[in-house]
């Protein structure tokens, strides 16, 4: 089968995820039994000992399956992806969060969807049948919906979930898109998918569920709404 020839590099940025990364790695191995893949952990010098746990995991699963590509200090998510991508050896790249909001059980459906459709990008979407979110309060839902309606009306991106970051990319496509992206935080996710869509990439969607993080704490924050609006304006004039 075609599946055998492909290799998937799963890039996981971490910052203080010592428990989550171990659970995540276990679940990835559980759900990707007969797939060729590697996990690239990009840790930004987490003070909680994330890297020690990753080293233990390397002993258990093999250093060729789990790659630790650390950076000395917290340098941000966008550059973490770029850093991880440099070390990726697969022809496909998956980007996912370490905090278990992105459940590895969906990985097979990403892979299947890509093989079925030949898409350049498969993006996980929470806002279709079979998808969903758990653990958000009304305010968070309201901002999410508002942001989505605004972006759909102004940007016509052709995908239903712009800020979700659980995605599978053809490696060459990701390399091409990622270097033209300058935003930070989750505007970065939006910029990637909008730019890809403008370049005429074939983007397929699979439903995913999103359970808000149970362990550890959120690293994004601050004036997210202002950042979002700035990002939207930026994308309006540059894409």
């Amino acid at each position: 089968m075609e599946k055998e020839k492909n290799k998937y590099s799963i890039i996981v940025p971490t910052y203080n995820e010592r428990l989550n990364i171990a659970l995540l790695v276990y679940l990835i191995f559980k759900h990707l039994k007969d797939v060729d893949f590697e996990i690239i952990v990009v840790d930004d010098g987490s003070p909680d000992g994330t890297q020690e746990v990753v080293k233990q995991l390397q002993k258990l699963y093999g250093e060729d399956r789990i790659l630790l590509r650390a950076r000395p200090r917290k340098l941000g998510l966008g550059t973490a992806y770029i850093h991880g991508l440099k070390h990726a050896s697969g022809n496909f790249v998956v980007i996912m969060d370490a905090d278990l909001s992105h459940h590895p059980k969906y990985l097979p459906s990403f892979i299947r969807k890509q093989i079925e459709t030949g898409a350049n990008i498969v993006t996980g979407t929470r806002y279709v049948r079979g998808g969903g979110v758990h653990g958000w309060n009304l305010m968070r839902k309201l901002t999410s919906r508002g942001a989505n309606v605004l972006a759909q009306t102004l940007l016509w991106p052709g995908v239903s979930d712009l800020t979700g970051s659980f995605r599978l990319y053809q490696r060459s496509v990701l390399e091409d898109v990622i270097n033209s992206c300058v935003s930070k935080g989750y505007v970065f996710q939006m910029e990637m998918i909008v730019r890809a869509s403008r370049k005429g990439c074939h983007i397929a969607e699979v439903p995913i569920t999103f359970v808000d993080r149970v362990y550890g704490s959120s690293k994004l924050g601050g004036s997210e709404i202002v950042e979002y609006l700035k990002g939207l304006a930026y994308l309006l004039v540059t894409t």
Partner: protein, 89 residues
């Protein structure tokens, strides 16, 4: 073409159409004057409606939280046996 230009062209097209209506006065001018206001109000309503509908139909997955807990327990059990430090502090 940049997205902002697309949107501006649509707005200009609408404005041109409106001015055309004003000039030709096929419909009474007093009505034509109000059209942009209707347009803005209906856009606003559309936005609110979409957000409202989105909120009401917001897909949730409470069962997933339980499933995740099971997966976490299973993973912890496995990792603990293999001597990996999974104590949650």
């Amino acid at each position: 073409m940049k997205q902002i230009i697309k949107i501006l062209s649509i707005l200009i097209a609408i404005a041109a159409f409106w001015i055309g209506l004003l000039e030709s006065s096929v419909v009474p001018r007093s009505n034509t004057w109000l059209l942009p206001i209707y347009l803005i109000v209906s856009l606003g309503c559309y936005g609110l409606l979409m957000v409202g509908v989105g909120l009401m139909k917001f897909p949730t997955c409470p069962q997933e939280a339980g499933l995740l807990q099971k997966d976490v327990a299973e993973a912890k059990e496995f990792l603990k046996q293999r001597g990996i430090d999974v104590a949650s502090d």
